[in-house]
């Protein structure tokens, strides 16, 4: 079994290596090769899972040290894996959803000439993500952490010929790097505090480190989580990341990579529990982001960006739950898994719609598509019901528990957090209903595809550009993954909740406490249902009863701000981009004028002085004679003077 863990990472890595270095020979079979690598690692994951189920609760953890990576003095970083129930959950989610999305991409990317590389990058992503969740120390986790950042960079910027895609990719990497900075300082702090950064020793010894130190480590880890999981204040990259191909948005920017922050907080539970202030920071970040994302999601007309806002908001729920401590860990991870199903399904549905609509992304140009794309409609609809928390579907079980846990925090804090979570649920219902209605219902507001000279979003559009769209159902390779994910969004939550199966599965790793909410569980559920109905009704009143205008109305100040991501980008632009440009430009100037100037100035003054001195050498014999006489006179005078004294 130990060897299988290494293989789990190695198979997609080898796939990536083969696809990226293999040259044109692999152009044809590349997509299938990539999908095969993903499927093999999923199969390995299932084997390990079965093996784990066969063992008792305490023996389920597997630890493997493969080799010493960086041994320098007392600093020891090993390449070692740690497989427990928590990482197992992630492994299955990553490889499972990953394989489905590979399959989907075969159809989706069929017309792209660089698809071999696309699959190479996807494989690279899988390998890095698996490394992230399987690592047994923070430094190796950091390798995976940056590795997924790289894969995300490459995939967001996959259509590099579009400047917007290249910019978005760069932005994602940079914002993530800011978070990574937190991660690397956290690791350094762990090293100076504990002399190691392996999970086992750090987490067991955490309670001896003193609260101040733990708070610092926890806050730095939170910064890292914010970067990777697009939480306020490092959320600005996620919306732009939608420049990438849609399967990428589904896999990386919805189901797996962006949830790495939740994994980090859950994994480092012992550190956070020793630092209540940091936990408060975590729940604040979660609550703020879940509202922020939801509000942004309401205003976007671009279907992918609306879904991106929703992703941000849902991860806000998870972070909120993870920040609550043992009361929330299990539900954070459960919501993470169910969200992985329905959000990936929704994105794939969006991709399918775009595929049929000449890659149009503006929902105001959709409408009435349910007749033309029945499979997409049904799977998207099930995902929709799941995300808004329709009773019986996945999202209902997981989100309801988080809201309950938020109330259970107790005191004013509990009321604020619970209120925010409830409000978030209402807004979720509102914006998702809006997406649903604008896309699949109402009259057809289609328009001809942009003419070929405009840079089109997806290259496949090239062939069909110019005419009115002919919406059609997508090929089998695309619909099958959508159906599987839709099944997951319907049943996963229910299955997890039978006998509290998921809770019992994860409890040995994360620990669990029952929260006692000031409101009863039933009251919370009822309140959730009420706000759900409210949100849906509001959206229906606004978009279902009246025709949707094909161009966006100006809207209120809030709407306008929300369309611009609540002005966060403008802030970044003015403060960071402009400020940075000024700083670098003035430094370049200073380097030239000041640092170089001092040296050049010295040289120039020596030169100038020599120029002056040179004038004395005028070539007139008589002036030389004068200086000789003068010199002799001075010498004689000096001699006499010395004598006299």
């Amino acid at each position: 079994m130990e060897n299988l863990i290494g293989l789990l990472v190695l198979v997609p890595l080898a796939g990536a290596g083969a696809l990226l270095c293999g040259g044109r020979r692999l152009d044809r079979g590349g997509p299938w090769l990539g999908t095969l690598a993903a499927a093999v690692s999923f199969a390995l994951g299932v084997v390990l899972f079965a093996d784990m189920l066969g063992k008792g609760g305490e023996e389920r953890t597997l630890d493997v040290t493969v080799f010493q990576w960086v041994p320098v003095g007392s600093f020891r970083a090993d390449v070692g894996f740690h497989l427990d129930q928590l990482s197992m959950t992630f492994v299955l989610l990553i490889t499972g959803v990953g394989s489905l999305i590979h399959l989907y991409s075969i159809g989706y990317m069929a017309h792209d000439e660089r698809r071999r590389r696309f699959f190479g990058y996807l494989n690279l992503f899988l390998a890095a993500m698996l490394l992230l969740v399987l690592a047994d120390n923070y430094l190796l986790l950091y390798v995976g952490w940056e590795g997924v950042g790289l894969a995300s960079y490459l995939l967001i910027g996959f259509w590099q010929h579009k400047p917007s895609a290249a910019t978005a990719a760069k932005k994602a990497f940079l914002v993530n790097r800011v978070g990574d900075m937190g991660m690397s300082i956290a690791i350094m702090l762990m090293f100076t505090t504990f002399g190691t950064f392996a999970f086992g020793p750090v987490l067991t010894a955490a309670d001896r480190a003193g609260e101040g130190r733990l708070t610092a480590i926890a806050l730095l880890l939170l910064l890292a989580a914010c970067g990777k999981s697009a939480q306020v204040p490092l959320q600005s990259w996620l919306g732009d990341a939608m420049e990438g191909p849609t399967p990428v948005s589904a896999l990386i920017h919805a189901a797996t990579m962006v949830t790495a922050g939740v994994y980090l907080v859950t994994r480092s539970g012992a550190v956070f529990e020793g630092a209540p202030d940091a936990q408060t920071a975590v729940v604040t970040v979660g609550a703020v982001t879940l509202l922020f994302g939801a509000i942004v999601g309401c205003a976007k007309d671009d279907i992918k960006k609306a879904l991106a806002g929703s992703t941000m908001s849902q991860i806000g729920y998870m972070i909120l739950a993870a920040g609550l401590g043992p009361v929330g860990y299990v539900f954070a991870i459960m919501h993470l898994v169910t969200h992985g199903f329905f959000k990936a399904g929704l994105f794939l549905g969006a991709g399918s719609v775009m595929h049929g609509m000449n890659d149009e992304v503006d929902m105001r140009r959709y409408g009435g598509l349910r007749k033309y794309m029945p499979v997409t409609f049904v799977t998207f609809g099930l995902g929709y019901l799941a995300i808004i928390g329709f009773p019986g579907l996945s999202g209902f079980f997981s989100k309801d528990k988080i809201i309950e846990a938020a109330f259970a925090k107790g005191g004013t804090e509990g009321w604020i957090l619970g209120g925010a979570a409830l409000l978030g649920a209402a807004i979720t219902a509102y914006y998702m209903t809006r997406v649903m209605i604008m896309t699949f219902f109402g009259e057809e507001r289609w328009r001809p595809a942009p003419s070929p000279d405009e840079p089109s979003a997806e290259p496949a559009a090239g062939d069909r550009a110019g005419g009115m769209p002919h919406p059609h159902e997508s090929p089998r390779t695309m619909t099958i993954p959508m159906i599987v994910l839709a099944l997951g969004s319907v049943f996963a939550g229910g299955l997890f909740s039978v006998n509290d199966a998921f809770l019992k599965w994860l409890e040995p790793v994360t620990g669990h406490e029952e929260g006692n909410s000031p409101l009863g569980a039933l009251t919370v559920t009822a309140a959730t249902m009420a706000v759900l109905v409210l949100g849906v009704a509001l959206a229906w009143a606004q978009y279902g009863r009246r025709p949707v205008p094909a161009t966006a109305p100006p809207g209120s100040a809030l709407t306008r701000a929300a369309r611009r991501d609540l002005l966060q980008d403008d802030f970044n632009h003015v403060v960071l981009v402009r400020g940075g440009e000024h700083l670098t430009r003035s430094l370049v100037y200073l380097d030239h004028k000041l640092v170089d100037g001092v040296v050049n100035g010295t040289a120039a003054s020596v030169g100038g002085l020599s120029g002056r001195m040179r004038r004395l050498q005028n070539g007139y014999v008589r002036s030389y004679a004068v200086s000789m006489f003068g010199g002799a006179a001075v010498l004689i005078a000096a001699t006499l003077l010395m004598r006299a004294v």
């Binding site: 990226l20 630890d63 080799f67 010493q68 990576w69 960086v70 041994p71 320098v72 003095g73 007392s74 600093f75 430094l139 950091y142 390798v143 952490w145 940056e146 590795g147 790289l150 960079y153 590099q160 010929h161 579009k162 400047p163 290249a166 910019t167 760069k170 940079l174 790097r177 800011v178 990574d180 900075m181 690397s184 300082i185 690791i187 350094m188 702090l189 090293f191 100076t192 505090t193 504990f194 002399g195 190691t196 086992g200 020793p201 067991t204 010894a205 001896r208 480190a209 840079p455 940075g580 670098t584 430009r585 430094l587 370049v588 380097d591 640092v595 170089d596 001092v598 040296v599 040289a603």
Partner: protein, 537 residues
């Protein structure tokens, strides 16, 4: 007497330089092959050195050679390598064949039919490169301060001609303007380094005076001085030690280069051809940081500790300042030069953090920086030679027409920004951890450097490689076989050392620990003791 391996390792490229220079004017190809063969022979000898070097052997230096040279002044021809020296000799010997191969056409006369018989730029170019190699190798091997000083300075002569005599195609500038800028850069390089060298000369003389005064006979031998210090026969007065330390350090700081004596580097790297730029930053500059470890720290431990706070601050400024200036550059090669300044800041920071991790990281960093910058600069050189311009704005969408070139550029760039999995990450992280455990604030500030590194690398990549295809690069050919043969091994090495740096750290570590013990510093201990049982879970 055993086989003088170290002398031969330095003599082979020197002989190669003479042989290359002697090739008749008309047979340029023969000159290139001669240079390549000799540089490969040096690589083999460096490999033999590595193989015969025993990391665990006692005593500071191995493979030593010692002969009287100028006995009146106590100058001895003493060579010897420790772990750091042997690895850096290997790095030098490894990079030079790539430099030769990458510069294969850089010194071809513009008009092939130049009739003059005496005009032999190609021969000169390769002979000078080999000359530099010989001098760098012997600088890494010298354990006598005087021998080191002689070659440390003599290196400037061939470098001066390489920078001033050979450059890129003029591009938008006229030939005269280009030549003027080249000669400006070459003179600047020479003056800065001469100034540093002169200050060092004064310190070398001072060192001799002190030893002559206290030991009865003047000596320049590193081993002898260190031993005499250890046994108490030699004692520096505090002021003398500090003055001598500053004299040595100034020369090495110019060479390294450290802010604020860095401005020669962007000019020199910008004007020189890419292979020569690699020679400057990856090979010659390493002598500066290497000498800090070997001479500054071992000869003057007390003064090193005294100067540490200031040097740490200067190194931090170098890191951030170099990175910020790299962001603001419009010229590809100058950008890489400023990035190097930032990286040298990391190396110096690691050295003066005085922790095992910091110094181990710094020495490893020297190797990794050599490889990664060589890869990045050489690919940039291939790019520039195709378009004839160094300005970033003249490129765009290159990945569409030359995907392999763009791919290798990206990997080299990612190595420069220290992406985990590639070699520089390991060393950069070690430096950061080492610094953090002694000076937390400095470590945290230096970490900002990794964000800035991402910024300048990705901006460079985005502007040159992505976006719509620029008209002028539309017909750009992808990497040729010769060029791929240069880049691919470097990238493979970056990947290998990123995943498994142990072969190198194993050789470096004992030497680093020896240095640490010379400076009488020990690592800070963690605040919380974690027992072994917990560690093993």
């Amino acid at each position: 007497m055993s086989f003088p391996l170290l002398t031969v390792t330095a003599a082979v490229p020197a002989a190669g330089a003479l042989a290359t220079a002697a090739v008749p004017a008309a047979r340029r190809a023969a000159a290139k092959w001669t240079a390549l063969v000799f540089s490969l022979a040096t690589l083999v000898l460096a490999g033999v050195q590595l193989a015969r070097f025993d990391p665990d052997a006692a005593g500071p230096f191995q493979l030593t050679e010692s002969h009287a040279w100028i006995s009146d002044f106590g100058v001895r021809y003493e060579l010897g390598v420790d772990g750091i020296g042997v690895v850096l000799v290997a790095l030098t010997a490894l990079l030079v064949p790539f430099v030769v191969l990458a510069g294969w056409h850089d010194a071809d006369p513009l008009e092939p039919a130049t009739p003059s018989r005496r005009w032999r730029p190609t021969q000169g170019f390769f002979a000078l490169i080999l000359m530099v190699e010989a001098m760098v190798v012997i600088s890494f091997e010298a354990t006598d301060v005087f021998v080191f000083y002689v070659f440390f300075e003599a290196m400037l002569i061939p470098m001066y001609f390489l920078i001033g005599g050979f450059g890129d195609r003029a591009g938008e500038r006229t030939e005269d303007e280009a030549a003027a800028q080249r000669s400006y850069a070459a003179v600047k390089f020479l003056l800065y380094n001469l100034a540093g060298g002169l200050v060092m000369l004064a310190a070398v003389v001072g060192l001799y005076a002190v030893t002559a005064d206290q030991l009865g006979h003047g000596t320049f031998s590193l081993t002898e001085i260190v031993q005499a210090r250890g046994s108490g026969r030699l004692h520096f007065a505090t002021v003398t030690e500090r003055a001598l330390f500053l004299g040595f350090f100034f020369a090495f700081a110019v060479k390294a280069p450290l802010w604020p004596v860095h401005t020669w580097l962007p000019n020199a790297m910008g004007e020189a051809t890419a292979p020569v730029a690699v020679l400057i930053t990856a090979v010659v500059d390493k002598v500066g940081t290497f000498a800090m470890l070997r001479f500054c720290l071992q000869l003057f431990p007390g003064a090193s500790t005294w100067a540490t706070p200031v040097i740490v601050v200067l190194a931090l400024i170098s890191i951030l300042y170099g990175a910020l200036l790299a962001v603001g550059q419009r010229d590809i090669k100058r950008l890489i030069a400023y990035a190097s300044i930032s990286h040298f800041g990391f190396i110096i920071l690691g050295i003066f953090a005085m922790t095992t991790q910091g110094q181990g990281g710094a020495t490893l960093y020297m190797v990794n920086h050599g490889i990664s910058t060589a890869a990045l600069m050489l690919v940039a050189g291939f790019l520039i030679s195709r378009r004839g311009s160094r300005l970033i704005a003249d490129y765009g969408g290159v990945q569409k027409v030359a995907p392999v070139l763009a791919g290798t550029f990206l990997v080299a760039g990612l190595a420069t920004l220290s992406l985990p999995g590639l070699a520089p990450f390991v060393s950069e992280f070690l430096v950061l951890v080492g610094t953090f455990s002694r000076y937390p604030v400095a470590g945290a500030v230096a970490t900002v450097g990794i964000v800035l590194a991402a910024l300048y690398v990705l901006v460079l990549y985005q502007r040159t490689m992505t976006g719509p295809v620029e008209e002028s690069v539309r017909a750009m050919p992808d990497l040729r076989v010769r060029e791929l043969a240069v880049v691919a091994p470097l990238i493979a090495l970056l990947l290998f050392l990123g995943v498994y740096p142990k072969p190198v750290t194993r050789i470096l570590d004992p030497a680093v620990e020896h240095t640490m013990s010379q400076v009488h510093r020990t690592d800070p201990q963690p605040d919380v003791r974690v027992s072994n049982a917990e560690g093993a879970k």
